[in-house]
């Protein structure tokens, strides 16, 4: 049976689904179109997979469309992504041309159906060029940490972004001085998805066995795409420090995203670094491995998310939801999810990560305490129900520009 809104009632807490129904009534009859660049892989696609059906169940006409792009385009947008995150990238005139040409091609083909159009991230940002012609309300939803973007890329995108009615960023640090309204909306996890739903011990053990992971020894795990910003080599370095005192194992597991061509290169580097140690398991998981990822996290002793730049880092919330102790890089949205010392630990280096992991491995009670706090923190702040509410509020907000208090009869 498909997942329904009622299934979230108990999980999300009292009054949450009722509030959603009340709010959805206020946008009844209006449509919300989401546009991004990949149907699978990565946080954006994952969120939309759940969010769109929930909105529809609430009576909001939500749809989701994906722009078309070739490998050359995704190479450019990956470079844009890096540059916006603050990693220096040389963007040539030809690369800007490729971006413009793909935007043009999509503008030509695209069917804009929403009363409110949510455009996710830079790849489809240029579609707003159609706004003067067709009107509607346009929202640019940025999932990237743009607290210190490379100026040339930001300035290239700025004229497009300024045409939107509103922009959404995941945290205040990413806000810009823009002439359009900006809202803070954190991303979210779906507690009932394959990646997060309850899994029994037998299933967990089966997955550990499949990958030859010993359930009798501590397991440190980082679940991430193979991406330099996720610092997988830093994780290996931290593991080697911990390994001096603990007979632990390391799991580095992740899939690839269709719009991330850099992944293979990073994966090769990680495999090379791990080659001499049979206790390091580098797992490139195919799409639709969510249940296995779920089991791997549940079977782990400590979860690591040692990112050096991070748009949000939903893997942290996914682990906290399973009451796991998490050690995360003090960057981007990880700082919202990990309240240092309460819901996990924030670190700035491989050495810092090793220190915290060692403490956690030696103290089961500490692991349980931060895990329980983390679960509560996610329940209150990072579930998909809250995200649905915020998107409905965004629809209402762009219909009432400039007002700080809006009465909904």
């Amino acid at each position: 049976m498909p997942i329904q809104l009622e299934d979230y009632q108990e999980i999300a807490g009292p009054g949450v689904t009722e509030e959603l129904r009340e709010l959805a009534d206020r946008v009844a009859g209006r449509s919300m179109q989401h546009i991004n660049s990949t149907p699978v892989g990565g946080g954006v696609a994952e969120i939309l997979t759940r969010l769109v059906p929930m909105l529809r169940e609430l009576g909001v006409e939500a749809t989701w469309d994906v722009i078309k792009g070739d490998q050359a385009f995704f190479n450019v947008t990956k470079a844009f992504h890096n540059a916006l995150h603050g990693k220096p990238e040389e963007i040539t005139a030809e690369m800007y041309d490729i971006f413009r040409a793909t935007t043009e091609a999509n503008l030509h083909d695209f069917n804009f159906t929403g009363d409110v159009i949510f455009v996710h991230d830079p790849q489809p940002a240029g579609l707003v060029a159609r706004k003067p012609e067709i009107g509607r309300r346009w929202v640019w939803r940025c999932h990237i940490d743009v607290s210190a973007p490379q100026p040339d890329v930001w300035e290239f995108l700025r004229p497009s972004i300024e045409q939107y009615d509103a922009a959404i960023f995941s945290m205040p640090d990413f806000a810009q001085r823009l002439p359009v309204a900006q809202f803070r909306i954190a991303p979210s996890i779906d507690p009932l998805s394959d990646k997060n739903k309850p899994v029994d011990n037998a299933q967990v053990n089966k997955v550990l066995e499949k990958y030859q992971i010993d359930p009798g020894r501590p397991v440190l795990t980082q679940i991430s795409r193979f991406d330099r910003f996720k610092d997988p080599l830093g994780v290996v370095a931290a593991y080697r420090l911990v390994k001096k005192r603990h007979r632990c194992q390391l799991v580095l597991a992740g899939g690839g995203a269709a719009d991330d061509p850099e992944g293979e290169e990073v994966l090769r580097d990680v495999q090379e670094a791990a080659a001499d140690d049979p206790d390091i398991h580098v797992l490139l998981l195919p799409p639709f491995s969510d249940l296995e990822i779920n089991a791997l996290v549940r079977g782990s002793t400590v979860i690591i998310q040692k990112s050096i730049r991070e748009g949000f880092g939903l893997t942290v919330s996914e682990a906290l939801w399973k009451k796991k102790a998490v050690v995360g890089g003090a960057t981007g949205g990880i700082k919202l999810q990990i309240i240092d010392g309460r819901t996990g630990f924030l670190v700035h280096s491989a050495e810092g990560a090793a220190t915290r992991i060692t403490q956690l491995l030696g103290d089961r009670r500490l692991r349980e305490k931060v895990g329980e706090n983390g679960y509560q923190h996610v329940r209150q702040n990072f579930l998909v129900t809250r995200h649905v509410r915020d998107y409905i509020l965004t629809m209402l907000a762009v219909e009432h520009p400039g007002e700080s208090m809006i009465y909904l009869a």
């Binding site: 009054g15 509030e19 009340e22 709010l23 206020r26 607290s147 960023f169 205040p172 640090d173 806000a175 810009q176 001085r177 823009l178 309204a181 900006q182 809202f183 803070r184 909306i185 309240i339 309460r342 819901t343 706090n373 509560q376 923190h377 209150q380 509410r389 915020d390 509020l393 965004t394 209402l396 907000a397 009432h400 007002e403 700080s404 208090m405 809006i406 009465y407 909904l408 009869a409």
Partner: protein, 240 residues
């Protein structure tokens, strides 16, 4: 459309909820409203006190309200040292503890408008800057103060009390957002003379109870505690 516009608008349409303050006292029911909010980012940030002060004088009243009230609504693993976010930032990012304590001690209950509150905060910072000339502390990168505000959406809850007894019964089960709206927002952000409960009870002739509730300090307790306190006062002081 402001809250009041919406209120008048719905009166014209004859909706029951927002009529609470306009029909004759002996007949009018109390309609509970709730508030949900979207956080608005202003794009303004400060990394030292001069910048903080400059923005403070320019941001909206909604922004001042947000940074002095938002933490009352959020869950905490332990009681925050300050609910005033300016005080928290001054303490954590600038380590100006004396100033943080002075900002944290600004008595919100004494304020009758956001303007008063803004001026009070600015005065404390100005005084500190005057007495501390020459030392400019800057927050570490990534620890800047980001000015936000709330875009609030007010909805009727459907709970309407015809009299005091029913009012108290319903109050026991309202959400913190509802309580926050009628108690905090009503007085400071909407600049009503008192909280909505005292206003309504006073109009009903329950002056003693209205005064007792008005005298509560909502900033000293959690919202759950405040609710229990109001219900307790109601059961004790409501005249039959």
């Amino acid at each position: 459309m402001s809250f009041y516009d919406g209120w008048q608008h719905s009166q014209r349409r004859g909706r029951s909820g927002p009529e609470i303050m306009t029909t004759p006292a002996q007949e009018k029911p109390f309609a509970f409203f709730t508030e949900t909010r979207l956080v608005v980012l202003t794009g303004r940030k400060a990394s030292n006190l001069e910048q903080l002060l400059q923005h403070l004088t320019q941001v909206s009243g909604s922004c001042i309200f947000y940074h002095t009230h938002y933490l009352y609504l959020t869950h905490h693993f332990e009681k925050p040292r300050f609910y005033n976010e300016f005080a928290n930032w001054v303490s954590q990012a600038l380590q100006e503890e004396r100033l943080a304590e002075r900002l944290g001690a600004i008595d919100l209950l004494e304020m009758t408008s956001i303007r008063d509150l803004r001026e009070a905060i600015a005065r404390v910072i100005e005084k500190h800057l005057e007495s501390d000339k020459g030392t400019v502390r800057t927050s570490p990168p990534g620890e800047e103060f980001h000015f936000c505000e709330a875009k609030s959406f007010i909805m009727p809850t459907g709970k309407v009390a015809a009299g005091v007894s029913e009012f108290l019964d319903l109050l026991e089960n309202v959400t913190n957002d509802c309580l926050h709206f009628h108690f905090f927002e009503a007085r400071l952000r909407l600049e009503r003379p008192t909280n909505d409960f005292s206003q309504w009870l006073g109009d009903l002739g329950q002056t003693k109870l209205a005064a007792r509730i008005d005298a509560l300090n909502p900033y000293a307790v959690t919202l759950d505690e405040l609710k229990r306190e109001i219900v307790k006062l109601g059961r004790r002081y409501a005249s039959k």
